[in-house]
């Protein structure tokens, strides 16, 4: 059977040697160096100029006059338009200066676009990771390194919080700082770590897994990466906002508290816009790539489950993310334009409507943060148990069931919010039903272990750790889904325990599993197995001692989001704090292993895990365009133990492609 290899035009924005011209005016960091400060000043001129032209009394030129008395004496209300201008204009200018829009700008203005010499693909030195690069493998690594930076930053904030909570009373920080710490901790972990870390892993692996040379839209891919540091730095820098510091209304940012808060709150609203835009662009890219760029023979029923998982996740992202964008824009309008979308009074808005819109995104977001992890677990468990994944089709269908059900459960976050009482029972029923497809996945993973030949390498340890911890998180979810129990446990430490079992024991464990699993593929070097195992056991123990007692604290009466608590909870909180420091320290082992192994690890073979999926059939790291020739897919990716079964035929071995399909052995 002849196979048509798709010729695609690989378009490169830049990245190779610059085409003559001035280094200060061509795309790159030198151009950022002067464009970013200029745009910062331009924002000030724009805002103050407009206010002056419209006849506002304050924040005219006088605040910019260094000889005047009111030099930089902005009243809080005057700071808001400036923050909005800064967080919109400076990022756009930064992206433009770095070259994120160059191709489109040239095309729109009718100038010749750069010749497509593929020179932007691949990374030859560490410097290439700091450029707008269109290679999905470079972007994947850019994503992962960036997200791990924000993971460490947000983790340190958790350490500060635990230090404050070590004993009752106030010791290290004031209430405002504490509220800022947990708000920024959650926002960074969700929007800058878990969601984009999965996007980064998917970015690297998915084109390889489906036999494609790159993502469908490489330039869009690069742009969506560069939005991430913008979003993260916007949120982090909120600590520097004068008069009140960081946003401190929680990552949920409920109105009217969000409207009443100091100016730092704007940094959450704008940070979410940038992170959300990045998510949506990546998700569209994944969808188009998965739908249109599968190698010949790669039908949907032959897709690895990670690809299925990213397909479901991307659908969720595209549909749901605009809702949080909208909710935060309306909060921003309530603050800056004095509208009343979500504030009571005359003219009155609807306070509870905010929560409906917010959770219509943020509940599906839980699955956005979980489904890719399901995918990673399926890959890892099947490979290291040396067995086909149990019930492949039901595994794929249960992902789609979660996707659909996930949109019908948002109000279970609002059982005590005072919303329409009739909505609670239907939402409880759909919430409970989500346990069914989730249960199918857990039982199928266990059945995959059955009669396997299990190798407990680090990725497998994290994947099995994930299954056990996720079961606990899922079961505590049943408690919270049952309305009478939720009325008692809602907004307490029980919820803190539950979300960390789901997002730490679930998402983070699978992210670690994925990073260790694909580390040899990405870097071409093996990680240190002994340190990897040490990292797992430290994390596993530290995690459980930190978060399990929180169930008890919550049921007994300790509310969440508090800097201080009743004396009776003192001793257990002290234990939790010690365990959390232990947990924090385990991350040092991980970072050390990653850095040292990347620099000096043993060279990795192409397929160290003897896996069948396509990414392992090429060299480590893969060639610039992934495959010398697009592979021909001939069977399932999980046929471990099936004699003679093949997933794909590589590099023109067409004779093998005509082999009849293998009989399934039950």
């Amino acid at each position: 059977m002849a196979v048509e290899v798709h010729e695609r035009d690989y378009v490169v924005t830049h990245g190779g040697p610059t085409q003559g011209g001035n280094r200060w005016t061509s795309a790159g960091w030198l151009r950022v160096l002067w464009v970013a400060p200029l745009s910062f000043l331009l924002s000030i001129v724009l805002v103050i100029g407009l206010r002056l032209a419209l006849g506002y009394e304050t924040a005219g030129w006088e605040v910019l006059n260094p000889f005047g008395d009111s030099f930089f004496q902005f009243a809080p209300a005057d700071l808001q338009p400036l923050i909005v201008a800064w967080t919109v204009i400076v990022p756009l200018a930064f992206l433009a200066a770095l070259g994120g829009f160059d191709y489109w700008a040239y095309w729109v203005s009718g100038r010749p676009t750069r010749p497509e010499d593929h020179s932007g693909h691949g990374a030859r030195s560490w410097r290439d990771y700091f450029r707008v690069n269109t290679d999905h493998k470079v972007i994947g690594i850019q994503y992962l390194v960036t997200t791990i930076f924000f993971f460490v930053a947000a983790g340190l904030m958790a350490m500060f919080m635990r230090a404050e909570l070590a004993k009752p009373g106030m010791q290290f920080v004031d209430n405002n700082t504490f509220n800022g710490l947990f708000s920024v901790h959650a926002s960074l972990m969700i929007f800058l770590f878990v969601i984009p870390a999965f996007a980064g892993l998917g970015n690297y692996v998915i084109p390889l897994m489906i036999g494609a040379p790159d993502m469908a839209f490489p330039r869009l891919n690069a742009l969506s990466f560069w939005l991430l540091p913008i979003a993260g730095l916007t949120m982090l820098s909120s600590f520097l906002v004068p008069n009140g510091g960081a946003f401190a209304a929680g990552w949920t940012n409920y109105a009217p508290l969000a409207v009443q808060q100091a100016e730092g709150n704007l940094m959450f609203q704008m940070g979410v816009q940038w992170a959300g835009a990045s998510s949506i662009m990546t998700a569209l890219n994944f969808l188009v790539t998965i739908i249109t760029m599968r190698a010949p023979g790669m039908s949907f029923w032959r897709l690895p489950l990670l690809v299925w998982a990213n397909f479901a996740t991307s659908t969720l992202v595209v549909i749901a993310t605009p809702f949080i964008a909208g909710s935060q824009f309306f909060i921003l309008f309530d603050r800056v334009l004095h509208t009343h979308f979500f504030t009571p009074g005359e003219p009155g808005g609807d306070v509870i409507a905010y929560q409906h819109i917010f959770w219509f995104y943020s509940h599906p977001a839980v699955y956005i943060m979980m489904l890719p992890g399901f995918g990673i677990a399926s890959e890892v468990i099947s490979v290291f148990a040396r067995k086909p994944i149990f019930g492949y089709r039901l595994m794929a269908l249960s992902l789609m069931a979660i996707l659909i059900l996930g949109f019908s459960v948002w109000a279970h976050h609002m059982f005590v919010s005072g919303m329409s009482p009739w909505l609670r029972i239907p939402m409880m029923v759909t919430t409970m039903l989500i346990a069914v497809p989730t249960g199918i996945k857990v039982f199928s993973w266990l059945a995959t272990l059955w009669e396997g030949r299990i190798h407990f390498k680090t990725p497998m340890l994290f994947a099995s750790g994930f299954v056990s911890m996720f079961v606990i998180g899922g079961l505590s979810g049943i408690y919270l889904g049952a309305i009478p129990i939720d009325i008692h446990a809602s907004d307490t430490y029980f919820v803190v325990a539950h979300i960390h079992y789901v997002l730490f024991g679930g998402s983070l464990f699978t992210i670690f599993a994925g990073i260790y699993y694909w580390f040899p593929k990405m870097t071409g070097r093996m990680y240190n197995e002994r340190l990897g195992k040490l990292h797992f056991w430290l994390t596993f123990i530290g995690f459980n001692v930190t978060f399990f007692p929180m169930h008890w604290l919550g049921l007994q009466g300790m509310p969440r989001r508090v800097s201080d608590y009743a004396a009776e909870f003192g001793s257990l909180n002290f234990v939790i704090t010690i365990a959390s420091f232990f947990l924090g320290a385990s991350t040092v082992v991980f970072l050390y292993n990653m850095i040292v192994s990347w620099a000096r690890g043993e060279p990795a073979p192409g397929n160290p895990w003897r896996a069948l999926t396509l990414e392992w059939q090429v060299s480590s790291p893969p060639p610039i365009f992934n495959f010398d020739e697009i592979p021909q897919v001939v069977g399932s990716p999980y046929e471990y133990g099936v004699r003679g079964a093949r997933h794909a035929v590589m590099n023109g071995d067409r004779a093998a492609a005509t082999e009849p399909e293998r009989e399934r052995v039950h």
């Binding site: 040396r386 067995k387 086909p388 059955w450 030949r453 299990i454 299954v467 079961l475 509310p559």
Partner: protein, 324 residues
Amino acid sequence: MVLVGVAVGGALALVAVLIPWLPSADAEEAGPVDQVYWFVTIICIVIFALVAGVSVYAVWKFRAAPDDEDDGSPIHGHTGLEVVWTAVPAALVTAISIYSGVVLVQIERIPPEHRVVEVTAQQFAWSFTYEENGTQITSGTLALPVDQPVELKLTARDVIHSFWVPEWRMKKDAVPGIETDIVVTPSKVGNFTVVCTELCGLGHATMRAQAVVLTQQGFEDWLREQRRLAEQAGSAQGATLFTQQCGTCHALADAGTTAEVGPNLDNVLPGKGADFIQESIVNPNAEITPGFQPDVMPGNFGEVLSQQQLDSLVEYLQEVAGQR
């Protein structure tokens, strides 16, 4: 495998029973809620024991030697098993849903004969208003007679707060602009804490009020005392108002309050005059005590207190400040 499962299940059952996970149940509504909790707990222990039994056995039994390059059995699935683990969890969660729904209706039923207390939340204090025999009484403490159902009508002045008494198992948000309600029938005499569970700003962690459940006789005495206090005037009224409205955040030895949300008035009050005191109450951001942040204290006391109440409060504080 069965052995491991039974061992894990037994251990979990002991943990569930021997550790007191729930606080004492001191309202009639708490009983049914706890029954749902135990129902779910039994199901969860069985499921977890099953998962633990299978996985521990698999890890122990199917572990490969490092140099073992063989593959496992190529089992692709088992339709019967897959049907079972779809159907059984579906049946279990449906049972939990139905039971929860029944209990929800039961605990939210409003008995025809019941007392109404209006609960107002604001940053960062609670106040409770009673209509008893035509007179209105407002207190910073929630006092209730034992074994009598009460409907709490919740509202908030500024942002969302949430009313929770752990021993009663009841919680509901107090939302500005709308009225929400809960019904509770305290079944035990004693002191409880009203906890705010919805993040409401800087003082959220310390936004607490006392709930006192009294005997019928004790409650009537309490009402009488409140009526007497309400009829006070001058600095005596001011002292009462201070305990109710200010004492949840400020320490003042004379009033016997010890809270630490706001400045300790024993330190900052002496020597202050009437104008300063009045300004500090109605416009708290005018001058901020070093070490504290603006906007922590509600700015609406000028509206919440009548002019007469404000005067008495200022009069009382002037006395304490040593200026009268």
